[in-house]
Assembly symmetry: C2
Homo-oligomer: 396 residues x 2
Amino acid sequence: MPQQDLSGSLVLSILIIFGSAKLMAEIFERAGQPGIVGEIVAGVVIGPGVLNWIAPNDVVTILGALGIMFLMFRVGTEVNARELVGVGGTAVVVAFSGVAAPFLAGWGICLLWRKPLLESIFVGAAMTATSVGITAEVLARRGVLSKDSSRIILGAAIIDDVLALLVLGVVSSVAHGQVNLVELVLTPVCALIFIAIVMRWGSWTASKILRRLEQVLRIGEAPFVLTIILLFGLAALSVKAGVAAITGAFLAGAASSESIPARAREQTFAIAEMFLPFFLAGIGLYVKMPAFREPRTLGLAVVILAAAILSKVVACGLGALSHGWIVAERVGLGMIPRGEFCIVAAQVGLMLGVIPADTYAVVVAMAVGTTMLAPPLIDFAFREQGRSKTLEMPLF
Amino acid sequence: MPQQDLSGSLVLSILIIFGSAKLMAEIFERAGQPGIVGEIVAGVVIGPGVLNWIAPNDVVTILGALGIMFLMFRVGTEVNARELVGVGGTAVVVAFSGVAAPFLAGWGICLLWRKPLLESIFVGAAMTATSVGITAEVLARRGVLSKDSSRIILGAAIIDDVLALLVLGVVSSVAHGQVNLVELVLTPVCALIFIAIVMRWGSWTASKILRRLEQVLRIGEAPFVLTIILLFGLAALSVKAGVAAITGAFLAGAASSESIPARAREQTFAIAEMFLPFFLAGIGLYVKMPAFREPRTLGLAVVILAAAILSKVVACGLGALSHGWIVAERVGLGMIPRGEFCIVAAQVGLMLGVIPADTYAVVVAMAVGTTMLAPPLIDFAFREQGRSKTLEMPLF
């Protein structure tokens, strides 16, 4: 029975992934480490890297995508769009330098390792995009999302997302051998116009239209229903406009931050709590150990990982230096995590035949490595703030 | 970009399915009809039946399975296991007569229609299982889950589920040409022992172990995390024991009904609210119109639909007659909906080559038809109870 079978394997996958993620989170918390690193490690353990119980599959991808979208929505609800615009200048500088530095570093290192030119450029491109989800989760758990440094990180991550998609687009076009200049220019322009419009008018629209609409609807849980439609509506528009769906989810959160009823907010938070482990463990699933038996590959992985961390810390830190050393440190460390974008970029490279399997493993190791090292570093950067929050009131 | 693409189409599917389901629910509520029928109709409209925007796919199946599992968990939390055992005798009679009558009716009608013997038996088998989800949703919205008639329906639906899987197992084995008698006897015995153990000891275990465990855990939202693990743990065990995953979800709800903290309960309800539209619209997606251009097929569909309704109403009503006419009427009408089990059975038949495409369409029409006709009939059966609840406090 197909559906019965699907439901059986679905149930077992959910049990294994959710259960092991939470078990490792508990172990990590007891060892004084961030629980979310434990959830990624759980993915490495149950994945092809160690036990091989679960391979990356559609269930993990779908549920993980839901988890990260609802997390970004939650982060959006805790950020005021106007305050985000206030640090916009710094965010732009941080984003541009934070894309350029890792791109050049990765490119250069691969050339030193005698990799072909196109492969080297591709590795550089895969190193550009910060995965803001991990940082956002750490900041949300500590309750420091309203700090200046947090706003700069979130603003920079949105612009960074547009830039990284642009870089990957250019590099993929070059690899394909066909470059459409008009499209390459139009895509980021459309994306930025879309973001600007939502930032400027979203909040007003949400509070005027949605809050009135929910008064006249007869279906149950109208505020929740309208929130979900706003979330996925803006996410779908984001994809059309050339940005990631999670950026749309974040914008939906920011737009409704001032007017969303408490009950609907808690309901969306519950969905994030349910599915975030699939996003985190899902990252770990991509780790494969065998590639690193060769010393040359292992060496490259270590150097690329170090470069990925240092280039973001230095370039983004310098970009935010006008706000003082503490903000610069926090922004630099907060921009470290790469995560799912790099894995996607590496898959594209593998599919196009631009990068071989060992380089793919190096990029994935960089993505997972930065993602696991970032939470303790960000915790450290915010050490003076809300230490106890981590234990008392996590997520919500 | 594969993941990026998936996330784009995922977002659009969710928007279309959730949005159209809620739009139709609103229209139906305004017309004085149950909203859930509107959500099924939405599936017919956006599916291959009419607009062909969405075909049945993995996203709908996965999210729909989550929706029905969390709904059945919710229904479980509102039912007391001991009280369910109290109406156990009646539930067994209702289940047995409610499986036998439609089976024989479907078989007989198909023979009259000059269908081959095996095809006729298969149609009969596909008509056996009540899909308790639809009834449960209507009962939950009216706030009448604690009535005797509701308990008989839920108890009978659990046993009915075991019997129907058994009937389908036998029929499929016959179609395959290989019958394993030991397995056929052991499966329902295992299933019933599993259900009995969980009904008897689940509640005690949940309140003693889970509630203590959540005191010592350091991760955030420990009660919610443990609830999810209980839910999917029992669902996975159910599948192993030979019953549907949703039965395990229901048992998990019943086991935690007395001890689950209010916050964790609300969080699981939010997930049901999010994903139930995918289950409901997902049923509608299977409707295909072209098969019914032929009068003979249309005629069979109408007769089978009528037989499916009458056989359950009469057989289940008679089975519950010892509790009086009102209970008998409610139980009879409450057992009408078929839904996903029949569609799965029809797919198995199609795959095995036992039933042709037009008979498949007839079975699907019966499943969707009973599911859409049941909610207003159940509403009618409970007309004296909590009429206003439908509008004021739907689902939770």
